[in-house]
Symmetry: D2
Subunit: 260 residues, 4 copies
């Protein structure tokens, strides 16, 4: 497979440092080794390498995957990490054709993962009350090449969603319960609700409220990713790790009515 | 959304116990509460509930998601867990339309996750040398309703794969290196290789060999899923957990030639 | 070193199963292999082995260490685990000669660890409001041979302690804050307070109250012990683990006065 | 309790930063807030506070505990952490009066923990082949006020130890097996051997060799310390942690003879 104009490409140097670029004529990437004219990548084979103008830096040309796209968003908020996004997508049953509501958009890292998962015929409806953040997120999702699969809306959680019968709702808010009743209204019967929250208190409060709203199969857990350093005769875990991003919380909407 | 004949349906009792059934006329599910005639589920709303014949058991009717389908396979081997499958799929960049090789098939739990991820236009090529295991896996993938997306083949790892230019290869073998050169041949440039292995020794040996074969961005880690018990005023982690399934190992194929 | 009458001895079978016995004339240990007359252990070398009467079971004769003594207490409550006890003792600065208050006694596993650490000239004051539990604990501490170093008292936490200027206070209560003001009164200036609690909520409430009472250097963490299975060419973590016992919380008493 | 001349004292500022000092006439501590004349601490109550000369910095006066003394050693090597030291001491059964061999000394952080645990009548024999490192360690142990309980020796592991019938041996060497036969010779029957090693490979090799030498009850695990941030309504784990220091390995010497 060859690089085409407009492709998003990951350039990886020999130390493993990654640069996410869009291949356009006239654009250059500046690295600490030197400059790469991105135009000259057109027609290169993925998996091959290129050099900086001065031959001092060697860079492999690779298609980015979702973890790359997520980690490379411009951050104006705390982002959701790939490890959590992968699990959320699988636990919510999101697949090609799914219609999913996300609130809030944040910097759009989760939006990218969701948009990738719903495929060409699915849709992500991404709500946030902060216009500035969402503008940044829109640019990030555009850079990831997934903008066509997402509708962005500025809205407070408690104001409710426009969509009905969606397959899943994912909530990433400081007070996730503000989006609970709107989520119940928007979800299809048996639809899945997912929440990510950094504190014990949030998942405690939210899980109690989900139970009150008739959600079943309420489960909560956290995902820890622990790097290993495999080396000949000296394999061991890395010495430091990200030990907390957030607690995940899931439940299934049932036909039990809301308290009026 | 209503249950149709032929649907795979998850029945969840009030203690959270789950039964995966296929809705067919004349079939029944026997539970410790009593019997459910599956035919009467036809036309029910997902999210609603039903009772056993004697009204002693109440069961919610829910669409299964991939973690349900994976955990409910009939096991003739150790299975890959949803937590690992979700991460593998995201890290390998598998999405709708992807063409992926899996070796070995095992009991097919990972095959189900892969088949779900590649969508209607993608394909999973699943190899195993053990015919008996693969027969069981085929039935499991069939039960999950994903058989059309998978080609099964009986083959030893070192004999090589039939496919070329695949997007990703996933290896789950006691000696993953036996499938390394075949994987290099089958992968497209910049294609992704993933490995799951229970021991430190396997990932050590495999990562050394991957480096020799020119793979870059070699990363290894493990995923730990730790359950929380959120309760009003008494939130805490669960007292026991699955603390090890396997180490994951990933790398990207480059255009570097194989040693002859 | 040779076994003497009255010694507490650990007998370990070839599968690693451990039996804690006291060597007395006329007493026997019944195992699933057969019977061992404990009298015949007298004069045996530690590190040596003995057989059951029928030669079917082989048992190594070993001096028990604190983790053995703690895990072998007769349990009438949840016990504190050796991993937590070791950390608590070190973080509280407990050493030979220390005077320590413990509330509550529970089944006495922590009492054993504390009594070992304070040495012959130190003292543990162990309070509990439940007479039945403490009676059991007293027997457990006696069996561990450490009874001379402990004073047991039946008391509610809020009623206060008899001791002054103690080096450390360790609280293991459902409502640890009930013992907070009594702990402040009993502790010497710069003395250390330690708490073990299973839930997030308990450590949250307690740490807030400790701050209000002028405690400094307030730290909270949990200790996870993850077993490895080292085997030639196949080393890996064990598949299951105890993933939660409790959160630990520590602080140092300063001279700031109590609110009246 | 009042501060005396010569005391080791921990000064803790209002942000929790800790300074370990020895109270001597004429000495000063320079902090980023200003200067503290240590002489004026004499006669102060532990738990009380003092100010820098300019009143800009407030410092609590506290007795250091072993974790403080360990973390404050001058490091010329990787040190053993308090979390591991606490566990090693408890699992090896070290208590007042114990005689323990340590190899190697490193920077002496473990030596400090061992010296504290053996009490006034116990002894630590600490071996290292590197004179420069051991000189630094000696100074560190001196600063901790525990030098009387330790004998330091310059020696290669395979050359053997001078002591016999010791209660425990602790090995912290890149090739721990070099000290195995000397440890067997030095240990009393039923004595305990402990090893700390960073890699899977080391504990694998060592555990195999320990089994060959007749050790029983061979156990390996790692200790993870995960910090919590308890705050009113917002309690959660810290975002980063030390995820690996080393694997621990323990075994009990039996009377089985060495292969000749």
């Amino acid at each position: 497979m060859k690089v085409k104009e407009g492709d998003r490409v990951l350039l990886i140097d020999e130390k493993g440092k990654k640069f996410l670029v869009r291949v356009e004529k006239g654009k250059t990437l500046s690295t600490h080794y030197g400059i790469i004219e991105l135009e000259k990548l057109i027609g290169a084979d993925f998996g091959d390498f290129t050099y900086t103008h001065n031959k001092r830096g060697k860079f492999y040309i690779v298609e980015p995957v979702i973890p790359d796209l997520m980690m490379k968003v411009k951050r104006e908020t705390q982002i959701i990490y790939p490890k959590d996004a992968a699990i959320i997508i699988m636990w919510l049953g999101i697949k090609e054709g799914s219609r999913v509501i996300e609130i809030g958009t944040g910097s759009g890292s989760m939006t990218i993962a969701l948009a990738n998962a719903v495929g060409e015929n699915g849709k992500v409806y991404s709500y946030d009350r902060n216009e500035k953040f969402q503008k940044n997120a829109i640019k990030n999702v555009e850079n990831a090449g997934l903008i066509d699969r997402v509708e962005f809306k500025i809205r407070q959680a408690h104001e409710g969603f426009d969509e009905k019968e969606v397959d899943a709702v994912f909530i990433d808010l400081p007070s996730p319960w503000e989006a609970l009743d709107p989520a119940v209204v928007a979800l299809k019967g048996g639809g899945r609700l997912g929440v990510l929250s950094p504190t014990c208190n949030q998942i405690e409060t939210m899980s109690v409220k989900m139970k009150e709203r008739g959600f079943i199969d309420i489960t909560s857990f956290e995902i820890l990713l622990r790097h290993m350093l495999p080396r000949k005769g000296m394999t061991r875990p890395l010495e430091r790790m990200v030990s907390h991003t957030g607690y995940l919380l899931f439940g299934i909407k049932t036909s039990i009515r809301l308290p009026e």
